[in-house]
Symmetry: C2
């Protein structure tokens, strides 16, 4: 048996970080490589996108999290290739890293189902930058609507379409509903934010298909109470800067909307294809790498795949979903396997088994649906469970406290403090591009907009 | 006397916001125009730049702050011109706003003393975007240094130069000292962050020239204890991507440094020149508009200038400094004058008199210098006063609580949670540009970097 000392973990997400932490007492040297210098708590990204939290509150610097773990170092770098023969991963800048065991946990990215040009009009929600971009778009839309004289254009700026009614889509739609109906209610003079139209689309026949049907129905009713229109069985045919074309029951419709958000599906990052090619691994429809039941790539007992990139069926025969829980358990499993072998224990681990603790989706303030160990919970109890679990998992002590207090304050006040429009969008405000009507608009509106 | 009902306030900074709030019960219609949708608590920007706070925590959405003030509306727009004859301000998108009284409070921006090309190598600290940029640069420098094999290059990445030893420069230098010596102390394997060289430069003979000399000496000693090198009487002659050239006592020196931060001086935004031209107003050396003792522009009794843009001597004959206190008092003064006239009270107000409550600069954790009503305070008491005042002034209730708790936690743990590198810099990490040495660097370093 070869020695096993150098462990490289590619990716500092849920799978990678969980693997690194599980190796903290193993007799190995661990290198975690990530393009970002932080671990991101992705399930709360929609709260950054909707102005409830700041990016710093749902992200923890990887060096901070792993700095005290003496057998581990963190490297900021972009892995672009793998040489399984020489046992090296290659970085974008030409550097290489040798490994004796490798954990690939690069995660997934937003899929536009082959229509990548839609991305510019319909940003996804996978990174901090995307979340900040989405936040700018939502807030900017209300600002433009406030200045626009033409009713049809104003309506298009006040129409928000969310594509994909999985947990992220549901959470986004609910949060935008709250922004329009509560947070911004008294902030504008010319528009009534609560007249915003929020549309949640999905090609499947119902929302939250990963949830039991009774909970999905409850979620749908809660969303509708927040003013969200739900259009299921509806496919997106085209997206452009002024809206989108949808098809439902053979009928094609155009929705004029300047804010389209994409929560529609995932695909694998480009490096996944390269890795599959180098190892002759098979991939599934979504581009995920098919792994053995011990998470290794067939033919490579020292290369583990964990998290969204791993394609593996669960006990029920269905593919395991790309969620944080699966990623963390897989990362820990790979680490345990590596740790055992490094300690000279050559007995194989039992195959990876996913322990599903349940699923939760938040709809709004004090409202959620949860399927915990088969128990169906909804409303405030579900929301409290959600808040508890998420605060608990936020990696750093500090974040936990801050986030908890913010939520408590927000639950009492409906306020959202992180409502900043920054970046280029804010630097040069040329509304004339946005306002197709009379450019001399603001003073042309009647005085009513001042006193309301 | 003409009617006075339509009040336009250009700028939502300390002066503009203070004017708007002081008009809340006046019989006028107020419009606040700003390019940003938020009020920024600028004195804490350096804490965003050094990863202590998130942007959302030192900024409050203008609509949130003024939304409940029924006589006021907020407009997102960029004022580019003024027509004092037709009493209109013009926006970048071609729209115009009529006023009967105008408060110009557009603030200042970073001055490179005629060398605007330096900006790309030495960012300033005036906006959220700049602060986030500075944060990225500081953290990125440590990351590159960790990967670099060449000792000279590594040293250049670990050299941080701050130009300008006023309060912002002092606060930045102190915070970087803490980051290097405490926050990141155990986070790296190849480098010792505490070996970072932090240089604070100023052309004047001492730091904090706006403070009494005894306090400036104390500040200097505290900075030196944090490892900051202070070079006073030193002028910057050139800045490029690899460092800067400085001159001191007739001798020219080059400092190799990849992180140069500019806290060096202020100039006025381009619109200030336009406004001065349109009103035939005189400007001072820094481009500020010389105003009457009631803050109006000579010849225009309905145009007030407040904040950094106003050039006015205080009781001691010296020009009032561009600080938040002056801005807030001037904004409130202009509002009071406008409110009186709107109510039909034509008696003039007594001239504006600045009430100086004192100055504070923070050096590090629990360390500051303060000159409060002539009393000199330093160390922890000064820091406590500083923390109290700043938390008090943070506009929103929520921010106050959050910031206070963050500081408390940080004071106990030295942790800085907002250490994110986001944006383009993080998306495509091509270290080869940064690392001039051997591109295959990481594995060429001895194994010691793993175990330290």
């Amino acid at each position: 048996m070869t020695s096993l000392r150098k462990v490289v973990i590619v990716g500092g997400g849920f799978a990678g970080l969980s693997a690194a932490r599980a190796l903290r007492s193993a007799p190995v040297d661990v290198t975690v490589v990530d393009r970002r210098n932080y671990h991101l708590f992705q399930p709360l990204l929609y709260q950054v996108a909707t102005g409830s939290l700041s990016p710093g509150e749902i992200a923890a610097p990887l060096r901070g999290v792993l700095g005290r773990q003496r057998n581990t170092r963190v490297l900021l770098g972009h892995v672009v290739d793998l040489d399984p023969t020489r046992k090296q991963v290659l970085l974008a800048d030409g550097a290489s890293l040798e490994y004796e065991a490798l954990v690939i946990a690069v995660g997934s990215q937003t899929s536009y189902f082959g229509h990548d040009t839609w991305k510019q009009w319909a940003p996804g929600l996978k990174s901090v930058d995307e979340a900040v971009n989405v936040r700018h778009r939502i807030l900017y839309a209300f600002e433009v609507a406030e200045r626009i004289p033409d009713p049809a254009e104003r309506k298009a700026w006040l129409t928000f379409v969310i594509v994909g009614a999985g947990p992220t889509g549901v959470e986004l739609a609910g949060a935008i509903g709250e922004i329009a109906r509560q947070t911004l209610r008294r902030d504008f003079r010319a528009i009534h934010p609560e007249e915003a139209r929020i549309i949640l689309l999905d090609g499947l026949p119902r929302v939250l298909t990963s949830f039991p049907e009774s909970l999905a129905r409850k979620a749908q009713r809660s969303l509708e109470r927040l003013g969200v229109e739900i259009q299921t069985g509806t496919m997106v045919k085209d997206v452009d800067r002024n809206g989108l074309v949808v098809e439902s029951g053979g009928r094609s419709d155009r929705i004029e909307a300047h804010t389209v958000l994409w929560a529609g599906g995932v695909t694998m990052p480009p490096v996944a294809k390269t890795i599959a090619a180098r190892t002759q691994a098979q991939t599934d429809q979504a581009g995920r790498i098919k792994v053995n039941r011990d998470l290794t790539i067939p033919g490579y007992s020292n290369i583990y795949v964990a998290g969204d990139l791993a394609s593996l069926a669960g006990a029920d025969g269905k593919l395991l979903p790309g969620v944080a829980q699966v990623a963390m358990q897989q990362g820990a499993y790979a680490a345990t396997a590596i740790g055992r072998r490094a300690s000279g224990d050559e007995r194989p681990l039992p195959p990876f088994a996913y322990f599903d603790k349940g699923t939760i989706a938040v709809i709004g303030r004090g409202s959620a649906v949860a399927d915990i160990f088969g128990a169906h919970v909804s409303g405030l109890p579900a929301w409290l469970i959600w808040a508890f679990i998420h605060v608990l998992y936020l990696v750093q002590f500090e974040s936990r406290v801050i986030v908890f207090i913010k939520w408590a304050i927000q639950a009492l006040t409906f306020n959202r403090s992180a409502r900043l429009i920054t970046g280029d969008a804010a630097t040069d405000l040329d509304f004339s591009k946005a306002i197709h009507g009379d450019p001399a608009s603001p003073e042309m509106r009647p005085a009513m907009d001042i006193r309301r």
